[in-house]
């Protein structure tokens, strides 16, 4: 019972790690669209660095949510209903981000392009903020009653964890996006991304560092993991400074993964603590599905996840290589096939 639920807890955290690591740079690139690039062609360079792969990255979010529903229905129900207002905003952000990527290039007026550029930026920032806040909140807890429902109204979720997690999510995505652009672009854009990454890496990491650090209060031995995360972040900083782009990308990911590990190892066995009464806390035992459901899902996941990772790697390999302004084709104006 406990073992299966623990495995599923780990798997769901792995899915969240995958989501933040992969869509993290999509969100960062999205936020940078209006500010990092000057010309229309540069904006299209940014958009096309993530063009072929962002949608596959977003599925990690859908899978994390779906797996939470299947493996821990009480966790899914309590968390999602408690965060009703922020998740509504997050959904609007997800809608605008997705539609912006596909529709931006399909119109030609300046107003159209400006609108979708900002929809992309604000949408990406919103997603990073609300997902970061949601993960911080699920580790720190909510005022839940004995039915698992939040007490105190529509905004009872507000607090420091939402701030650290939310701003930390935005900061992480920004830096991750800059490091990614260092890997995916050429010339001026690449230099600019490196320069910005050097400046922003440390200040943008404050939010997540606070959140990661708080895990020590639950289990002192986790300070070793937090120290490892800090070392990875420091190493990422020096890699960015010395222009070791691939190393910076990997180290920044390592920082994320070890930090999230510390947070959720600290929270274990709680999946969503109640700040009112620890008897109301949702734990891996009280929130999980039956062993039968967990087993069925585990078998499918163990078979499928390696295949999924395999074809996602294939997709990244297909679109390997830097994108420069010279690669971007002329914008194609849609004609009207009518004899005038």
């Amino acid at each position: 019972m406990e073992t299966l639920a623990t495995i599923w807890f780990v798997l769901i955290i792995v899915l969240w790690m995958g989501y933040l690591f992969l869509d993290g740079f999509d969100l960062g690139v999205g936020m940078l669209m209006p500010v990092l690039s000057r010309t229309e062609r540069q904006k299209r360079v940014l958009l096309n660095t993530i063009g072929p792969t962002w949608d596959g990255n977003e599925v990690w979010l859908i899978t994390a949510a779906g797996a939470t529903f299947a493996a821990f229905p009480h966790w899914y129900a309590s968390l999602f209903s408690a965060l009703y207002i922020p998740l509504t905003l997050c959904l609007l952000a997800l809608i605008f981000r997705a539609v912006a990527i596909e529709y931006r290039g399909k119109g030609h007026s300046q107003a159209w392009k400006t609108f979708w550029t900002w929809a992309m930026a604000v949408g990406s920032a919103g997603i990073a903020f609300f997902i970061g806040a949601m993960l911080a909140i699920t580790s720190s807890g909510l005022p839940l009653n004995d039915n698992g429902d939040i007490v105190g109204g529509a905004f009872a979720w507000m607090g420091w964890p939402a701030v650290f997690g939310g701003l930390g999510g935005v900061g992480f995505a920004l830096v991750h996006g800059l490091i990614f652009l260092g890997l995916k672009t050429q010339g001026d854009m690449r230099e600019k991304a490196q320069r910005w990454a050097r400046r922003l890496l440390l200040p943008c990491s404050i939010g997540f560092l606070v959140w990661f650090g708080l895990s020590i209060t639950h289990r002192p031995w986790l300070s070793a993991v937090v120290v490892a995360a800090v070392i990875a972040l420091g190493a990422a900083y020096f890699a960015v400074r010395s222009g070791a782009e691939k190393a910076a990308f990997v180290l920044h990911g390592l920082y994320l993964v070890s930090g999230l590990f510390a947070v959720f190892a600290g929270a274990y066995p709680n999946v969503l603590p109640s700040t009112l009464d620890s008897a109301n806390s949702l734990t891996i035992a009280s929130a999980s599905s039956s062993d039968y459901t967990l087993t069925v899902m585990l078998v499918v996941t163990v078979i499928c996840l390696p295949i999924i990772i395999g074809y996602q790697i294939f997709s990244y390999r297909m679109f390997l290589g830097r994108i420069a302004e010279t690669h971007i084709p002329e914008a194609h104006r849609v004609p009207v096939a009518i004899r005038s």
Partner: protein, 523 residues
Amino acid sequence: MDLDPVLIGRWQFGITTVYHFWMVPLTLGLGMLVAILQTMYHRTGNEIYLRSTKFFGKLFLINFIMGVATGLVQEFQFGMAWSEYSRFVGDVFGAPLALEALLAFFLESTFLGLWIFGWGRLPRAVHLGSLWCAVIGSWISAYFIIVANSWMQHPVGVDMVDGRPVMTDVWAVMTNNTAIAAYTHALCGALAVGGGFLLGISWYHLYRRRKDGIDTIGPDGKVVVGSAPEVPGRDALDHQVWIRSLRIGAIVGIIAFAGVAITGDIQSKLMFEQQPMKMASAEAACHDGTEFSVLTIGDPSSNDCDGVENVFEIPGLLSFLANGDFNTPVHGVTTLLPDYQDKYGTHLPEDERYGQHSGEEIDYQPIMIVTYWGFRLMIGFGIVAAGVSALGLWLTRKGTVPASAWLMRGAALSITAPFLANSAGWIFTEMGRQPFVVAPNPAQLDGVYMFTQAALSPELTPGMLLFSLISLSLVYGILMVVELRLLIVYIRGGVASAMPEVTKTNHTPRITNDEDDVLSFAY
């Protein structure tokens, strides 16, 4: 004002779901047709199929992204707005959603990215295979979500443990007869949407070619294909693209209608057995009988058997639909009602889970005007779509469409018919399930059912629900306008809107040597 949160939550679910299911059948149906077109190009090397693949592929993508964006809302709102439902069904209902993401969405999204950006970059067979993976992914996703929905219509494969259904047989859940019938029915409905889309749009272009004097009619009544180099894309091959697409669309539309009829018949026979009250309401059948109502009128506000008058009925037809013979009477609402009250109670329990509905009398009869007309509009629009397909095949037998603007407008408008049939069918089956969110399985009295009134998240206030309902509806409304305008712009541009190279055939030299480095597609 005392707003009922359950009612707002239901409106929100209804609006977001019906909207999502305008994008979905087009994704499923058109995706399959584009994959078939590209396969035909791959096998024959005939440029018409390349052109139709690119043109309809572009429209497919404009629509696809809206399905992705609105699908996220579906997955989140079970937990957000219906947390009591999610807690109750989570053990069995969450699994198909997670499987959908693992087995379908990853496949669909990853390979669609490869297809969009892979023109000229991937080996041709791999590029075609990518589209097939994406389309198969979308068809798998439809299966899992219908498995989840069908469990709400006909729960199977579970035992009741501590007041909640616990999955005991995943195979029974996955092979639920309700799910298999509904899945095949929905896929045929989606193909009807795709077929109608090809037909209506191709009709417009053939009409345009005639109106612009490019194609004319010879003395034998057959088309004389011309070309107009000054109009983008209007060469002789262009005519082939549209006439072929139109006829493929029409044939698919007719086959899909046959499929819809067969699977719908299977589904309705199951429904008479599994949810008799839904079918009785669909037929406005107040009393036991064998007659199928062609027209029933009554006072729509009463939802009461006393206020209903069956104007015109066909004896025996209802029995045939339900049982396959002409004389076994089908139970009407008044016969079924005591049975339901006997099994599931006359009043909702006095329990805070039911909020302001605690202790209320249960109305087992769905809103008859919705079920009755939802059922008939579904069938009616389906017949319209099939009729247009048949008419289209006949009228284009000599190689093009008539030069009538009204016929063209009718054909273009008929694109909406299969969409409306899909919506009407879903509204019928979902509203016909009420007052249950999980309908009881009459074959097993195990307590596995849930009233909608108990399903909402308890902490939600009407204000919170109104906030999300209004903001989502506003954004959906705006995006609908944006999507339709984009579709219309790209449709009017013809093949040249998706394939600029058709406008510059002979007289455009290669500009630079490094053209090979330019991405063949970029946002």
